[in-house]
């Protein structure tokens, strides 16, 4: 018996404290839901309790959650999901035949014909097949193998899984992972959690957040001094910046990855969200294969997609997939083993994904309504992207690049020196001070640029373009007015 046991329970400190917990976790930050959102939630509670504020609601323009901001779900998707959940409804004449057909097919592929059963860890086979067919169609016929498709719990799950596989080594050999600055903070959080080395490459704000191979080279060479760079992550269309990379740029990145022997991770969850004229989504896979066998047979890559964005906005379902290209078969076996630990991705999310890759066809009853709803959502986003850029660019001190795609704007704000000094004195990032003030004064919740990374000495915020158009206009006006007041106050 240990001495402690003999002495019985003593009043000592806790077993698990800040000092003895996993130190990596302390480096994990996720700005999209960080302190500003916690304060926003608190304010909402205060409003409910009747506390008087200069506003009656908090507008949460911090997270790309379309439905939470009023976007309606697509009818066809929800009909099929309802049928899958409660199959008795298959007898109900209210539901169209094409919805029933898909529901039956999905249920047939589920254990016990129920979405409540665990599925295979890699995801339901017929859904993976549908995903492969969708990718082939999207990429002009370039073949896709269903066995290289891994369904996941949102794209986040697959991204973290891949990073887990990639990170190894100690000290100077520790894996380095290149990510864009600005970036979506899932990446920095995952790297901190895994104890990997984060390698920053800067997007060029003056060139509409374009990517430059010279910058990639600079960043890589600097990193080689202190780690072993092995991965290059790219988000296209970008988050938070919204840029849609040109075909030439994608080729350059692929060439770079091949030359420098890097694993490519292509986060393409916003692939349907492209608004600007002259911009087009080019999948990394398509470009890779069009560059010929010298590249398509050698470059190792994983690309990611999700049901949370595009026209669906079904964030809560946690549906997604990744496609792996040229992965070493022995590593793939390890990947299969790794995903089995979490059993399987949520089955409703898998079902939803199946509908996204297998939507109503022109000869089917739901086609007209489906296309109308889809077009309406994407058109609204395109319009809001344009309005946002226009309005922000009229404000002295706010510069806004065109929102080419995705769901966000990431304008640059000029802050008076006094405000910067005040923030620093309080141990706060200057753009956090700005955003907190905006929240308290106007009830608008944004995420400061410091949460995504930005060039030293510059400040930004990320705002979603998801609120309904009329509300968005009001939000834009309020932010503009706030900016002028703030600048005045600290001049």
């Amino acid at each position: 018996m240990s001495q402690q046991a003999v002495n019985g329970v003593q009043s000592r400190g806790k077993v698990l404290t800040l000092d003895n917990m996993n130190p990596n976790v302390k480096q994990v930050y996720y700005a999209v839901r960080g302190p500003i959102v916690q304060r926003a939630v608190q304010i909402e509670k205060e409003l409910k309790e009747g506390v008087k504020k200069p506003f009656t609601e908090v507008i949460k323009a911090n997270i790309g959650d379309a439905h939470a901001m009023g976007q309606k779900p697509v009818t066809f998707l929800r009909q099929v999901l309802a049928l899958c959940s409660y199959p008795e409804l298959l007898e109900d004449t209210k539901f169209p035949e094409d919805a029933k057909k898909r529901a039956r097919r999905i249920l047939e592929a589920c254990g016990g014909h129920s979405i409540g059963a665990y599925s295979a860890s890699q995801g339901i086979e017929c859904i993976r097949q549908d995903v492969a067919r969708y990718i082939e169609k999207r990429d002009g016929g370039i073949s896709s193998d269903p066995d290289n498709i891994f369904l996941s719990t949102g794209a986040s799950d697959a991204i973290v899984t891949m990073l887990k596989l990639l990170v190894c080594g100690e000290g100077r050999d520790r894996t380095g992972v290149m990510i864009s600055i600005p970036q979506y903070p899932l990446y920095s959080a995952a790297l901190a959690d895994l104890g990997a080395v984060q390698i920053n490459y800067y997007l060029d704000e003056d060139k509409c957040w374009g990517l430059d191979v010279t910058e990639l080279k600079r960043s890589l060479n600097a990193a080689r001094q202190h780690c072993n760079p092995r991965v290059l992550c790219i988000i296209n269309p970008g988050n938070p910046t919204g840029q849609v990379q040109s075909r030439q740029c994608i080729e350059d990145v692929i060439r770079f990855a091949k030359e420098e022997h890097l694993f490519l991770m292509a986060d393409e969850v916003y692939q349907d969200n492209v608004y600007a004229e002259g911009c087009e989504f080019h999948s990394f896979k398509k470009v890779l294969f069009e560059m010929g066998p010298e590249y398509s047979n050698t470059v190792e890559m994983a690309s990611f997609h999700s049901t949370s964005k595009c026209y669906m906005g079904e964030c809560g379902f946690r549906g997604g997939y990744m496609e792996i290209i040229n992965m070493d078969p022995e590593v793939k076996a390890q990947l299969i083993k790794l995903v089995s630990v979490r059993l399987c991705p949520p089955v409703p999310g898998q079902a939803l994904l199946d509908l996204v890759v297998n939507p109503p066809q022109p000869d089917e009853p739901s086609y007209a309504t489906f296309m109308k709803e889809r077009t309406a959502v994407l058109a609204a986003l395109a319009e809001k992207a344009k309005i946002t850029e226009q309005i922000f660019n009229t404000v002295p001190g706010i510069t806004c690049n065109p929102v080419q795609g995705a769901m966000y704007t990431f304008p640059r704000i000029t802050l008076p020196q006094k405000a910067i000094d005040k923030a620093k004195a309080e141990g706060q990032a200057p753009d956090m001070l700005y955003c907190m003030r905006l929240l308290e004064e106007e009830g608008i919740c944004l995420v400061p640029g410091s949460g995504f990374g930005q060039r030293e000495g510059t400040f930004h915020f990320r705002m979603t373009i998801l609120p309904p158009t009329e509300k968005l206009k009001i939000v834009l006006q309020k932010i503009s007015a706030f900016h002028l007041r703030f600048t005045q106050e600290f001049s």
Binding site: S2, Q4, A5, N7, G8, V9, S11, K14, V15, L16, T17, L18, N20, M21, N22, V25, V28, Y29, Y30, V32, R33, V41, R78, Q79, L81, A82, L83, S85, Y86, L89, D92, K94, C110, G111, G112, S114, G116, Y118, S119, T153, S156, D157, K164, E170, L186, D193, C315, G316, F317, R318, K337, L338, S340, V341, L343, C344, P346, V347, P348, G349
Partner: protein, 384 residues
């Protein structure tokens, strides 16, 4: 097994709110869906709850690893999960001949041995046990709590099978309840996280992927990081969260769905309990097999007493004997069961894990085929 109607009806309405107007659906279904839809903006618990807590315990790479005491036999995903988090597994042996009860002496032994090569900081309990089906009595739970308190271990209590208790005279008592009934000396100091899930509740909605954890006495500064880690998963699937709410808040007497709901649950529970008893008796009667009664959970974990030829053949094929048994059973009879070595057994004893939450006809079929295979094997008539 059939899903519970109330749950699926509410989910369907939540997914496709047009159905709120459908009079064919019970009123309480539509009212509940309405309420849930209004609430859909709330905070949530991530699904990777076990990983989140284990991750917090992990130490610095290169230094002495954190250790977690884990039951043998125990959940088969646990070793991989701990490994993924960079944490050392410290197995403690359950007592088969006492119905797989916990052995306090073995807990002490495991801890002492562990202190030589890692820093044990937590103990994982599965109650009701997976795969054993053991349900701890109050005394055993108190002993574990006292042990954890004295040895400064965080309690990780997996209670996902709490609704599946069928043993005679045995009842599920939650660790939290016992902890609080032990007085302030324990209830204000022992750090504990307990887990539940919709996968293993009577609902059996594994595919929805939702559960919850309750955290007791955790340092508030550490809690902040629990929330941060959960954020990066965004949230548990909303359909799962809805099912969780229905599990915690089922139809009450007087609600339209109450009768059907209660009938369906009673059917699930009695099926499970009858299955468990029937299967245990059958398996225990087979020569070369002994099977403890399961007091709870959805599995049976019979022991195989294999003839030496089989053990030899297994050695030659370089697999564990119970794996060889399961492979042959699958090939010969089309029945898939779990091999004991997956659940941590390294003591040279061999077991199978069999799921009892199946329709009675299916169970009869499984037992018939398994029995026939086993008898052939024992009499030496199954070829290599």
């Amino acid at each position: 097994m059939k899903p519970v109607s109330f749950v699926r009806q509410v989910l369907a309405v939540c997914l496709y709110p047009e159905l709120l107007k459908d009079n064919q659906l019970p009123l309480d279904v539509r009212q509940r869906a309405q309420r849930l839809l209004q609430a859909c903006d709330g905070d949530s618990v991530g699904e990777d709850w076990k990983k989140v807590v284990v991750k917090l315990l992990a130490g610095v790479e290169g230094e002495i690893q954190t250790g977690v005491l884990t039951p043998t036999p125990g959940p088969h995903t646990l070793p991989k999960l701990l490994d993924e988090c960079g944490v050392t597994m410290v197995p403690y042996q359950l007592m088969e001949d006492q119905g797989w009860a916990l052995d306090l002496d073995d807990l002490h032994r495991a801890l002492m041995v562990a202190r030589g090569h890692c820093n044990p900081r937590a103990i994982y309990i599965s109650n009701p046990g997976n795969p054993t089906g053991h349900v701890q009595d109050r005394k055993s739970i108190e002993e574990v709590i006292q042990f954890a308190a004295a040895e400064r271990l965080l309690l990780l209590v997996d209670e996902v099978y709490q609704e599946s208790v069928h043993g005679q005279g045995r009842e599920f008592i939650s660790y939290k309840k016992v902890l609080f009934e032990m007085g302030k000396e324990y209830s204000e100091t022992v750090e504990m996280v307990s887990f539940h899930s919709v996968s293993s509740a009577s609902f059996g909605e594994c595919g929805l992927r939702a559960g919850y954890m309750e955290v007791v006495n955790m340092d508030p500064e550490v809690m902040h990081y629990v929330e941060t880690l959960l954020c990066t998963n965004i949230c548990a699937p909303v359909t799962g969260q809805l099912a969780l709410d229905l599990m915690a808040n089922p139809p009450k007497p007087g609600d339209s769905s109450y009768d059907t709901y209660t009938q369906e649950l009673v059917l699930i529970r009695t099926t499970l309990s009858q299955n468990a008893r029937r299967a245990q008796e059958f398996l225990n009667d087979l020569p070369g097999m002994s099977c403890q009664s399961a007091m709870g959970g959805i599995y049976l974990y019979p022991r195989l007493h294999l003839p030496s030829e089989i053990i030899e053949q297994a050695k030659k094929s370089e697999v564990e004997p119970d794996v060889l048994y399961c492979q042959r059973l699958l090939e010969g009879e089309g029945v898939l069961v779990g091999a004991g070595c997956q659940y941590g057994e390294k003591t040279g004893k061999h077991h199978l894990r069999l799921c009892t939450l199946v329709p009675p006809d299916t169970l009869d079929e499984v037992l018939a085929r398994l029995g026939s295979f086993h008898l052939r094997l024992m009499s030496g008539t199954t070829s290599a």
